[in-house]
């Protein structure tokens, strides 16, 4: 087992291409959570929302034999959970940590429960057809970059478009300015005539919808099936990546790809029986890096200033 099995262009190109593909579900969740947190709401329920999204996506795809409808179902399922989260944290002003953690349990439990009930248990779980791969003519012939960037499943391009849209929405529109104001200094937004509650509801629901979409991409477009615990910690990684990305869509893309590549690498190393670096340490990497980033940002400056605090009108 030698190093040149790894350090050759064939391996690396396949690795990065694979990494980009694997990054999509997490990227969608990170984008979604960025919206929620930019508006000041801390939604830790991503693990459960991805689970329910994955299930909804799979179930609808299987029943209606249409993968696109499945993705929409994932979006809607996530949005529903977002509505619950928004109602409790914005209207009832409950503790956001506890509320969103309960969504994890609810999402995992409901998805497992419903899957078992509808599809039962079998040694050969039902599968679905995914979405087509799109090879961009011309561009995909470029050496090295071609196969890495231009020969992907449709959802990859979709995700990249969403990154650009998210960036534009947050930083180039008046709505985005309102969202960021609500997350930094809600009373200033209120005084400017902005409806803080409405902005937060929108962002939390949108965020959860994107997260649910991420889950359905995983089940429909990548694994083509649903398994209990298939999310395998991606929801938690997404939460960490939001911080790593400094709440910016551009860095979210970078972070998700980094995670994807680490994930792909870890698969391949395992398959090759590579022993020099235990793959578990690779798996740890996103988390350790995020802790270091958090520390270096000295806590108080990290993220929207009003994150996690229910907004109470108190003037005087």
């Amino acid at each position: 087992m030698s190093w040149d099995m790894i350090l050759n262009s064939g391996f690396l190109i396949a690795l990065v291409a694979s990494g980009i593909r694997l990054a999509v579900p997490v990227l969608l969740a990170v984008l979604g959570e960025i919206f929620a947190e930019r508006s000041g709401v801390l939604n830790l329920g991503l693990e459960g929302i991805m689970a329910i999204g994955a299930f909804a996506g799979f179930a609808v795809t299987f029943t209606l034999e249409n993968a696109w409808l499945g993705l929409v179902a994932g979006l809607l399922a996530g949005g529903l959970f977002g509505l619950i989260m928004a109602f409790f944290s914005v209207t009832l002003r409950t503790n956001q940590v506890i509320t969103s953690l309960s969504l994890v349990i609810l999402g995992q439990g409901a998805s497992a429960f419903l899957y078992r009930q509808i599809f039962g248990v079998s040694s050969r779980p039902p599968r679905v057809e995914g979405l087509t791969e799109l090879t961009i003519p011309g561009l995909s012939q470029i050496p090295v970059l071609g196969p890495i960037l231009f020969k992907h499943n449709v959802v990859v391009y979709l995700a990249v478009i969403l990154v650009v849209l998210s960036w534009a929405a947050l930083f180039r529109t008046t709505w985005g300015l309102k969202v960021r104001a609500v997350g930094e200094y809600p009373s200033a937004a209120d005084t400017s005539g902005i409806n803080v509650a409405r902005i937060r509801y929108t962002c939390v629901i949108l965020g959860a919808a994107l997260t649910g979409l991420g889950g359905s991409v995983l089940s429909v477009a990548q694994m083509h099936m649903f398994l209990e615990n298939m999310i395998a910690g991606r929801g938690w990684i997404a939460i960490a990546l939001v911080i790593f990305a400094d709440w910016r869509p551009s860095l979210a893309l970078a972070g998700a790809v980094l995670f994807g590549v680490a994930d792909a690498l870890q698969f391949r190393l395992q398959a090759l029986g590579f022993a020099a670096v235990p793959y578990e340490f690779l798996l740890m990497l996103p988390y350790v890096l995020t802790i270091l980033v958090l520390v270096s940002r000295s806590g108080r400056e990290a993220g929207p200033a009003a994150l996690g605090e229910p907004y109470v009108k108190e003037m005087g």
């Binding site: 609810l106 439990g109 429960f113 740890m284 520390v295």
Partner: protein
């Protein structure tokens, strides 16, 4: 209708600590009925199987008790932390570090007698869990870093670390699966005479009055509660808020670590990644349902444990997936939160 502060204190405490959680449980079970009907199963059959599976046989009771033990230990620790508003979400990782430390010691000191080895294992487990919890605690105290996120992240580091250890350095050469060598008889928690329950249960039960003592009968607990309810007043009274956050994390991390030791030494007898079906996370819900009160937490832990045991049976008998219990758990939290909101308004 009388306003809240016209009722005597004890009646209000009773309401808050008993009636609300009970109502929340009932409501979620009721909602569970709806879910069960949706999938065309008879709710009566389902719940009968659930209850029978949970408490209907000595075996079920033993299983429930065994499962209550780690839940109880961790959630008691979380009670201490949450009372101080130190949101320790890292109990899962602290559990694993404790399990790791205990098994390492247990395997390393194989020749020692049980009466020496077991307490030593408890101590190192405590220390490992506490040390692991110091990381987010210290970061919060010194730099104001959000302990929710940092403690969550440390979970993964811990779990992957243990995963690596049982795959490689600590792996049992005689088996194919990633797990450590078995702990010797001296490193195994003995049974309570006449039962199939290990004494870890007694340790957990002992911690109930212990946590009560700490919180309400010791100056430390008093200070923790002041910091948790009003940090401004704590500063005014000369109490150091950052120090107490670290103390709260250390205490809860230690208990989570001990829970890890108990599971390894009493149930699995080896270190492996499957020793926790999410105890660290479920304990958060247990602590909340128990209204951060040791006795309430005991009841809540037993409730959740038997719920899971019963669900196993329910699955075998009527075919309802075990996952239903997770849904009920989540619903319970949701109802407790909603009722907290209502009581806050009722008291105005």
């Amino acid at each position: 209708m009388k306003r809240a502060n016209q009722h005597p204190v004890w009646r209000r405490a009773l309401f808050k600590n008993l009636v609300i959680p009970a109502l929340a449980v009932l409501l979620s079970l009721a909602l569970g009925v709806v879910l069960i009907l949706v999938v065309r199963v008879n709710p009566l059959d389902a719940y009968r199987a659930l209850v029978k599976g949970a408490v209907g046989s000595p075996r079920a009771l033993v299983q429930a008790a065994l499962r209550t033990t780690p839940l109880l230990l961790i959630s008691l620790g979380l009670t201490l932390a949450f009372r101080c508003k130190a949101w320790n979400i890292g109990a899962e990782g602290q559990f694993f570090m404790g399990a790791l430390a205990a098994s390492w010691l247990g395997l390393a000191l194989d020749g020692w007698p049980a009466w020496l080895l077991l307490p030593a294992m408890v101590v190192v487990a405590w220390l490992a869990g506490a040390a692991w919890a110091v990381i987010p605690g210290f970061l919060k105290a010194k730099r104001g870093t959000n302990e929710i996120v940092t403690s969550l992240l440390t979970n993964y580091v811990a779990i992957f670390f243990v995963s690596y250890l049982v795959r490689a350095p600590m792996k049992d050469p005689e088996y194919y699966l990633p797990q450590s060598a078995p702990l010797g008889p001296a490193a195994t928690l003995p049974f309570i005479p006449g039962t199939r329950l290990h004494i870890g249960l007694l340790l957990a039960l002992l911690c109930v009055p212990l946590v009560y003592l700490i919180l309400w009968k010791m100056p430390l607990g008093y200070r923790l509660r002041v910091v948790g309810t009003n940090p401004e007043a704590a500063r005014y009274a000369g109490i150091s808020v950052p120090s107490h956050i670290v103390i709260a994390m250390v205490l809860s991390g230690g208990l989570a670590g001990v829970a890890g030791m108990v599971e390894v030494s009493g149930v699995h007898h080896r270190l492996m990644t499957g020793i926790s079906p999410g105890f660290g996370y479920t304990a958060i819900v247990v602590a909340l349902l128990g209204q951060l009160n040791p006795v309430g937490v005991l009841l809540a832990a037993y409730f959740f444990a038997s719920l899971v045991i019963g669900a196993d049976s329910m699955q075998r008998v009527v075919g309802l997936p075990v996952a239903l219990t997770e849904v009920i758990q989540a619903l319970v939290v949701v109802f407790v939160l909603a009722s907290d909101y209502l009581t806050r308004h009722w008291e105005k």
